[in-house]
Symmetry: C2
Subunit: 396 residues, 2 copies
Amino acid sequence: MVNIAILGFGTVGSGVAEVMEENRGRIALAAGEEISVKTIVDVRDFPDSPFRDRLTRDFSAVERDPDISVVVETIGGVGVAYDFTKRSILAGKSVVTSNKELVAVHGLELLALAKEKNVNYLFEASVGGGIPIIRPITQCLAANEIDEIYGILNGTTNYILTRMIGEGCPFDDVLRDAQRLGYAEADPSADVKGYDAARKICILADLCFGKNVDPAAISVEGIGGIDLTDVERAGELGYRIKLLGRAYRLPDGRVTAYVAPHLIEKDKLIAGVKGVMNGIVVHGNALGECMFYGAGAGKRPTASAVAADVIDAVKHRERRRMVGWEPSEPGFLADVRDMAVRWYVRFEGAADESSLEPVKTLAHGGERVFVTGRLTARELDAALGDAKVLARFRIL
Amino acid sequence: MVNIAILGFGTVGSGVAEVMEENRGRIALAAGEEISVKTIVDVRDFPDSPFRDRLTRDFSAVERDPDISVVVETIGGVGVAYDFTKRSILAGKSVVTSNKELVAVHGLELLALAKEKNVNYLFEASVGGGIPIIRPITQCLAANEIDEIYGILNGTTNYILTRMIGEGCPFDDVLRDAQRLGYAEADPSADVKGYDAARKICILADLCFGKNVDPAAISVEGIGGIDLTDVERAGELGYRIKLLGRAYRLPDGRVTAYVAPHLIEKDKLIAGVKGVMNGIVVHGNALGECMFYGAGAGKRPTASAVAADVIDAVKHRERRRMVGWEPSEPGFLADVRDMAVRWYVRFEGAADESSLEPVKTLAHGGERVFVTGRLTARELDAALGDAKVLARFRIL
């Protein structure tokens, strides 16, 4: 019998407690022994919870308890969560987390500390909610050099875009609806501005390319700049607009990572990922392309991923999982403006068409829309010259 | 340094040798030590292969070599492959395979033997080619009770159906094309009649539901009965026809597994899986629905999955992976005719409409097409009475 603790009894933490209880038999079978939630730490009271007798406000009760070998951190953020994670690892306990911000910002340090203390620090739930993605990358694709990974990593923005595309509703109206339905926070900026997706693509890039990618160092563009005109024009041209986090190895060996809206051909499978769902595409040099799809957030899906990591931590108490990456180094991370892509550009006025090499064009009144050949952002700017740019998006 | 052997130097076996060589550094990093292909067993000569100096016709050279700790079996079939697998395990070696027939038919026995000898028997490549699916089910979904798994498990039939749907070509013409392009065998019956998909869904059912499902015991229907009229009618009703392998837990707790063409709503993501690609959907009680997509066959994708298992076998030499299932027992496997589903039925004559509860209907000349409410096959037969049934397919 293995005892675990849960730090933070919010949506995900309470989901973990419920799933561990409900699927106790199945989990024991998979882990080879029973796993029991012994202690839950939260500053709030939960007098009506069936777990109320296991709740405490005192983290040090967990830290000092030699019976607890795995700690689940579902507090979120980089404050208390960081402190408790460090102290748990230092106390010789494995830590499992759904905290993407903490992994993206301090993962390198915490993984090094876990290695030093010979414990596990696992974070399957930090990207794609319940979708298996971290383990497939580190294990199933272990024999591949990975060239590229991208995905619809944020359910809130995908919900908003899906309704803009499907119903022609403007951004502000859909956002209000999403807030009312609980799909968007009261302050939606972490989602809408792309920061949530940025943390996730950095974690994926860390794992795929082996060196640390700092979320503060990458280009992040949200969905605020997408208006219905572009949704419509994209549709006419055979594309859907989706917010992607993307990490890519350039021909010169450097890696670039960024978050930005992209036009995706309607026929591509990932263009069919709708609503709050997530989809992640990985390209390896042996496997080719594969995609992982499912609920990118939510109480039980996220708990499913956390519980799988708990089982793994229990099974790998003696021989820890080798998961980690190296610090970044000069010349590793490339500016996304050095990456040549095809562009959708909507503009008024004259542009250097010979440089833009348009493969498709539309004209609406004084506006023109070009789908260009492959250009870096710098080349695009030069070719657009004095034209008044109304919108420009990368094409996947 | 770990030495491995490859049995069978055909498409997959030679792919494994190539990928292990090409991605040697990455593989060493993942495994924690270098892995080298020491011996390759095949009855044929390969005078032009860069691996020719490692080739032998004599399996006992591998069997007796204490330096070889992992054996890759890519021979196929249940003859020599079964014999060599058994002897390798008895010699204390882990075995990794892409051989779906062997795993589906003798997996229970071989896994028990591997457990007894404390070695690994791993088979990620046996289902979905390079797509990570076995490991995600056994590890990432370990905290879920799985209710259902289904998928497009055979690339040849999906290629044929995709062209029938997209171009309106009749079955026989597309099959000839597929044979010319190398997507279908000269004798295509294992694919076209659904036997290949049956082996794969049985392996998935074994893992998801924990008891052995014998491919010979399940209902298997191929794509030979689909004609262009049904492809068209399905399209009019908003569906695409796909061949699915499916395993499902009935409300009474029994499990049914089968292979049959299904109508799938065009909007569902899996309906967009085209050509030779595969897609597999799993439904767990915590995670909900997730999908895995990629190349279900082919030299390098399959080699990617085999190589990942080799790495895993190397990492788990001391503490073997717990993978396996129990023998079947009376009352475990249900007849698919006991499973209530919605049906597409095309018929001439009179039927008992009140029992069919049609939710959509079409009439073309004397023919009628009904989309029914949920009925078992027995109930459908009764309601159809003396009507002349031209085609009937389940709806996903």
